[in-house]
Amino acid sequence: MNGSVRNRAGEDGGAASTPTVWARRRAGQVALIAGHTWKEGLRRRIIVVGFLLTAAFVALYGIGVYYAFRDIASMMGDPQAGGTSVGALSIDQNMIRDLAAYQTLSFGLFIAGFLSAMLVVFLASGMISGDAENGTLQTIVTRPVARVQILLGRYLGYATIYLAYLVLLSGSLLLLTRVFSGYAPPSPIQAVLLLAMEGLIILALVSLGSAVLSPVATGVLVLMAYGLAFIGGVVQQIGMFLSNNTAERIGAAVHYLIPSDAFFRMALSGLAPPNSILPEFAGGPFGSPSAATIGQVLFGAAYLVACLGAAAYLFERRDI
């Protein structure tokens, strides 16, 4: 075809008279495919099963947090039970409580991020190759719909399922921690938004992978990338702790290569107690926060768009 696949949109002739009609029709088809993706998730009970098991996880987390903070409170002496405390000491007590609550949260959100990423990978790893191999894509691609619309519709469908899941899950964890520990993280909404970016980037990587690779290969690739990014974060953290520039740079480089983990750590910075006297590593392996920067966020967004663009390009040229 040698370049002749271009210029699809230009050929609509009289069918789309104005740019508004044109845009609305295109957006309508993207939304149609996104809705189709939701229907699949619901009818195949993927969403129900995922939510039920997640509810069990949230319940367990709640029980753990409840007992942990009841015991911490009793160890530190219940102020209402008459145990008076000097001003300075009570600040320290709060600090310990906050740190414990933060560590619990960071662990909880790590699991939340991990579960959501798994959900995304398992749901979406067949979105192009898999559907092409099993024969569901052929009759859709031959409709008057551009392949990029199919890709965007699929992405949008999975992304909204993921976001609904993530918001419910991380919201529950934040709420339970708040209720049982009393700790109020400084910017929980920003944290959830940054955490959401992690999964959206993972999903963009899945889209790119599935444009060329089989579903299993895509799943393996993206989970490996996710793990690599996490290890990169740990290496960076070690480098910062030991003031080792090489380790820190390697870790930072991995975060540019696969920016998912960087968003997890930026999310944590919105949950960590402010003015903490504790060093960065205090959060443990799951919990080293790094301050969110506009540059990082923009880089992540550009990375996501680049992945989708590459996926669209490869999908367009692909034999199905």
């Binding site: 949109a9 050929e11 189709h36 699949e40 009759t139 031959t142 409709r143 551009a146």
Partner: protein, 316 residues
């Protein structure tokens, strides 16, 4: 969309190379508007590859292709084209009716789902999930899906491979109905009787090359009168054969003709030549025989297409 000068499908010198194989090696053909075109060939000959190029699923390596006057795969062409793939799967979690509605919305076309489901004979199962359909019902639904949006041109790739003989008859009726409505049908098949009965024109492809193309009548039916005269000796036989314009083999004279009114005259001529007549028969060459003539002498497994190549394994 339709231009009076352009045929429904025109392709010339189309080549498709995969990494190590050549699936199509210079295919040229034309399909007129309103005709039912049969595309025949053994498994792995390149039938599905050509259909995928014509529907925009696969990019050709070389050559010119025009479908309904435009480039295949473009939105404006797709709007008027229907397609039933050879190997397909519909979402098991949709009902048949929902599938047709979904495709109607993709095509931005109003769809009378009940009429379509009835047309392909699964009207009663329209509100059941596709996961509960038999293979044959799924194929019927696939045919209905291909007709969503009332296309001008419809590609059917082995539309009866999963159907029993009655199902095939049903599909043939549907095809004849579509032809009556003026729809152009491109039918990929290796089921020769099916093609023979519904197609106006036929092309036969073998190993990526068109080996024959023309009106079904011309290609398939080489009718003849056969007269069994027994062993009458080689010299009288040769003389008789020469006089009648016949060939003689194994005690049988074969006279190619399309005009069967001459049969009594032929018999009289044989009797007049003092040859005995044991049996007289009219023979129409079936498509199967024509097909075997065209591609049968080749090795069963074309060496140019290795085991990894896409190949139709579904057989009747």
């Amino acid at each position: 969309m339709r231009t009076t000068t352009d045929p429904a499908i025109a392709c010339s010198e189309v080549r498709k190379r995969y990494r190590t194989t050549v699936a199509l090696d210079g295919v040229s053909l034309e399909v007129e508007h309103g005709s039912v075109f049969g595309f025949l060939g053994p498994n792995g000959a390149g039938k599905s590859t050509l259909v995928k190029i014509l529907t925009g699923l696969v990019r050709r390596s070389q050559g010119q292709v025009k479908v309904l006057g435009g480039r295949p795969g473009t939105r404006e062409v797709q709007r008027h084209v229907g397609y039933l793939p050879e190997l397909f799967r519909f979402p098991s979690w949709l009902t048949g009716r929902e599938l047709l509605e979904f495709h109607g919305r993709l095509a931005d076309a109003a769809v009378d789902t009940t009429a379509l489901l009835d047309l392909v004979g699964i009207g009663a199962a329209g509100d059941r999930r596709i996961g509960e359909y038999s293979k044959g019902m799924q194929q019927r639904l696939g045919l209905a899906q291909a007709l969503v949006g009332d296309p001008e041109l419809v590609f059917l790739d082995e539309p009866t491979s999963a159907l029993d003989p009655l199902g095939r008859l049903d599909v043939r009726d549907v095809l004849l109905h579509l032809r009556q409505r003026g729809m152009t049908v491109f039918l990929n098949s290796h089921l020769l009787t099916e093609v023979e009965r519904v197609c106006d024109r036929v092309a036969v492809i073998d190993r990526g090359v068109i080996v024959a193309q023309g009106a079904t009548e011309d290609l398939l039916r080489k009718p003849a009168v056969q007269i069994r005269v027994g062993d009458i000796g080689s010299e009288p036989a040769a003389r008789l054969a020469h006089d009648l314009g016949a060939t003689y083999a194994d005690g049988v004279l074969t006279i190619p003709t399309t005009d069967f009114d001459v049969v009594p005259d032929l018999v009289r001529a044989v009797v007049a030549a003092n040859a005995p007549v044991y049996e007289v028969g009219i023979m129409r060459q079936s498509l199967e025989e024509a097909f075997v003539d065209l591609v049968g002498h080749r090795p069963a497994e074309p060496p140019s297409i290795p085991p990894g190549a896409p190949r139709n394994e579904v057989d009747a």
